[in-house]
């Protein structure tokens, strides 16, 4: 299909996602507003009221109810979407596991925001990083364009017959959600054709074929086997995410992968980063390259499933890798991304050093200087004959 060059719009990240949802026009949206996601729900409710979409919009009294209603709707046989952030995501907790174990292809936008306390409304990744083992597919976007693109691709990934697993797509609160950025949209017709009609499996509303959803598994049932099935679906999702991205690239001209490397081929030191900070890191890499430093970067796109083999291949030639986490795993050796990357590279020979960095918790600013500081640590470690300590290094921690 020919790529249609569309005009460049100036929108907030939330507007971009609301537009994607309008083009997807799911059967049902159940959502509860929370900062910084509010605008998505508000704009979508307006679209419903204005008759721009055919969705049934269910207003609920909490996020626990939102996710429960979404599960009911999806089990009923409807293409269903929702959106949340932070505490709302945390309130959905127990039901997130239910959605995944029922294998309902729900798509949820989660605008990343810190979890309390102290109460904080700004961006970090502690909400969704905590939900990494709920059984949902996790795609982290970098900017406005990717928030839009991921939202549309997530529908295809979640609904794919090899996967049939709910998917959440994330982007950074405020930095992306509230700030204005460029967006090129597909046409409504392109999106409609790309996602295709919804195929429900064993829907409860098919009264000719009555089913029981979510039954008790018995005292000696198949719980274990169903968990193995969920994990196999995750494994298959790796292929599906790439296939969907390739098909989307033909349509949009925008290419995505499981991970997003930058100037990595001959890099001696590299940083792994999630979300909007990738832009700042890229410009820092360019600056260092101009000085002759062999710096590189990888941005995480798919975090669940985690493409560990792809990371091993991408990073095994690098001497020192710094992993920048915007969420901590208290008491662990480092943040969640650090742990994954370190595990992924364990079998590499020679094995790169992997160092943990923490940044941006509760929306703490991350400046190019901070990223240069991180690269300086990596450079020093690369030159040192001894292995460098893997204690956490905090970027832009206040001194007062």
């Amino acid at each position: 299909m020919a790529i249609v060059e569309s005009e460049i719009l100036a929108v907030t990240g939330n507007e971009a996602v609301a537009e994607a949802m309008r083009q997807i026009d799911p059967d049902v949206v159940c959502a509860y507003p929370i900062t910084p996601q509010t605008e998505v729900v508000q704009l979508y409710a307006q679209m419903v009221a204005d008759g721009k979409v055919t969705s049934e919009f269910v207003t609920v009294e909490s996020e626990h109810s939102a996710m429960s209603a979404v599960i009911g709707s999806a089990a009923g046989g409807a293409r269903t979407m929702t959106a949340t952030s932070s505490q709302g995501f945390a309130l959905m907790w127990e039901v997130l596991y239910i959605a995944a174990s029922y294998r309902l292809p729900i798509v949820m936008t989660t605008v990343n925001r810190a979890l309390s306390g102290p109460i904080n409304i700004h961006c970090d990744h502690s909400d969704t990083m905590g939900g990494r083992d709920t059984g949902w597919i996790q795609l982290y976007g970098e900017n406005h364009q990717e928030a839009y693109d991921n939202c549309i691709q997530a529908i295809r990934i979640a609904e794919h017959m090899d996967v049939r697993t709910p998917a959440m797509q994330m982007y950074d609160g405020y930095v992306i959600s509230g700030a204005i950025g460029p967006l090129q949209m597909l046409t409504d017709e392109q999106v409609r054709q790309f996602i295709g009609p919804y195929r429900a499996i064993n829907p409860m509303l098919d009264t000719r074929h009555p089913v029981t959803v979510g039954p008790f598994d018995g005292l000696h049932g198949w719980y274990f086997e169903h968990k193995v099935a969920q994990n196999r679906a995750m494994d298959r999702a790796l292929t599906v995410i790439q296939d969907v991205a390739d098909e989307y690239a033909e349509l949009s001209g925008r290419e995505y992968g499981l991970l997003d490397p930058y100037r990595l081929d001959d890099a001696e030191i590299a940083i792994v980063v999630v979300g909007s900070t990738a832009g700042t890191t890229r410009s820092t890499v360019d600056k260092l390259r101009a000085r002759g430093v062999k710096a590189g970067m990888v941005r995480v796109r798919a975090f669940r499933p985690f493409p560990h083999a792809a990371y091993a291949k991408a990073l095994e030639h690098v001497k020192v890798v710094g992993v920048m986490d915007r969420a901590d795993s208290f008491g662990a050796q480092g943040g969640p991304v650090f742990l994954e990357i370190r595990a992924a590279l364990y079998d590499s020979d020679p094995r790169p050093q992997i160092l943990p960095f923490l940044y941006g918790l509760g929306g703490r600013d991350i400046f190019p200087d901070n990223i240069e500081q991180a690269f300086a640590v990596l450079q020093k470690a690369a030159q040192s004959k001894k292995r460098t300590s893997t204690e956490r290094r905090y970027l832009n921690l206040r001194k007062d």
Partner: protein, 128 residues
Amino acid sequence: MTVDKKAVAKKPAALRKPRARKAAAKKPKWDISDVDSWGPERHELGATIIEAGNSVYNETGGWRSLVPVIDGEKCDGCMLCYFYCPDASILVENGKAVGIDLEHCKGCGICAKECPTDAIAMKTDEKE
């Protein structure tokens, strides 16, 4: 704390494995070579039950300690037992309760409690 290694090394004879076990150990008890053909893909996605009315396969009769016995002469066919029975275990013929589905009757006694003509009595269930 110091540990006397010699004392730990020699287990009392009663705790040692009997020799017969060694022969059996040659054939591994936990053979997982066919793990890929195990359960997961044989079950309905998301553990959904797609067969309607499958609760008949769940035989709850084994839970019973008391069994309802119907006196056909006293039964006036009001059908209250039929409607109250939580396991649909009252067998009805010509508008009268004539027997109990013993594969599913849990012996809860609701039928006996509700019967307005005292036509149902709970008796000790004698199992073979």
